[in-house]
Amino acid sequence: MDIQTIINISLLTLLALTAVILLRLHNLLAAVLLSGIYSLLSAGLFVSLDAVDVAFTEAAVGAGLTTVLLMGAIAVTGREQSVTRHSKLLPIAVTTITAAALIYGTLDMPKFADPEAPIHTHVAPRYIEKSGEEIGIPNIVTSVLASYRGYDTLGEVTVVFTAAIGVMLLLGGSRKPKNQNAKKKRDTNG
């Protein structure tokens, strides 16, 4: 077994372990911290798959900012997950069926790192061969995201923009009276 395989296997094992612990937690603060660790581990996995740009984003957004923002959200709501009293049979059935369908779907996928996979034979060779003379910058990921797929990136920025508008509408509107109500509610609950 080469070192790459060992790293991949240990990262995936840790990922699965984190996910299982996450499922069993009721303390939301610990859950947020663990999901940050989950993001950091997947960032490590992306590095070992040579996807440094994705790893960079995952580490900065998933492990860094999301953790802080979710902790901020917990600060205004509460630390403990509310106990559900419904039967758990339906959720278990739904997730089992979905997981089975997803695993069935993977059976049709090309093998890991197969050079004949459709993703490697469609537009990727053109980007690798031509982006140097067409765009003229060394980072092909940037060429694809900013130029070949510039329209998609515009859509992504619009999504981020919309998220901010949503949060501003929900939390930033008529500030004072709402705030006092929320505080009163929290005080009586806690």
Binding site: G64, L65, I137, V167
Partner: protein, 140 residues
């Protein structure tokens, strides 16, 4: 939030924040050559501002980045991105076709990518700072 944090926390924050801000600019403008780009740079920039807010409180941060200004930057970045597309329409190309932005197609691509990455960085940083401000304000 207004409570003064410990000396160690403040000094470490003083040490880290300038370096993180500088790194954000590096990621922003070096994205053509190394990993990174506007999105990551915006997030790193926002992380530095948020760290400063966590240590020194919102009032002090808002003297440098007031909510009213950050709010404008949320849309300025997106408008810059979309504006590059409109500019390329006016210069005879398709929407977001950077080839026509300069005399030379390669220079046009460089200019276009530089501008749209800047737009992405501005919007993402402003959005993240704004969401944090909103949560912080709501928690008070």
């Amino acid at each position: 939030m207004a409570k003064k944090r410990s000396l160690i926390l403040r000094e470490v924050c003083n040490l880290i924040v300038p370096a993180v801000l500088l790194y954000a600019f590096y990621v922003q403008f070096h994205g053509d050559y190394g990993p990174g780009g506007g999105f990551q740079a915006g997030v790193i920039f926002a992380a530095a501002v948020i760290l400063y807010t966590l240590v020194y409180g919102r009032e002090k941060t808002q003297k440098i980045f007031p909510t009213s200004v950050v709010r404008y930057f949320v849309s300025i970045g997106l408008l810059l991105y979309a504006g590059v597309g409109v500019a390329s329409l006016f210069m005879g190309g398709n929407y977001l076709d950077y080839n026509v932005l300069a005399h030379d197609p390669i220079h046009g691509q460089h200019l276009g990518i530089f501008l749209i990455e800047l737009g992405v960085g501005i919007t993402v940083a402003a959005v993240m700072i704004m969401i944090f401000y909103m949560l912080d304000e709501y928690a008070d």
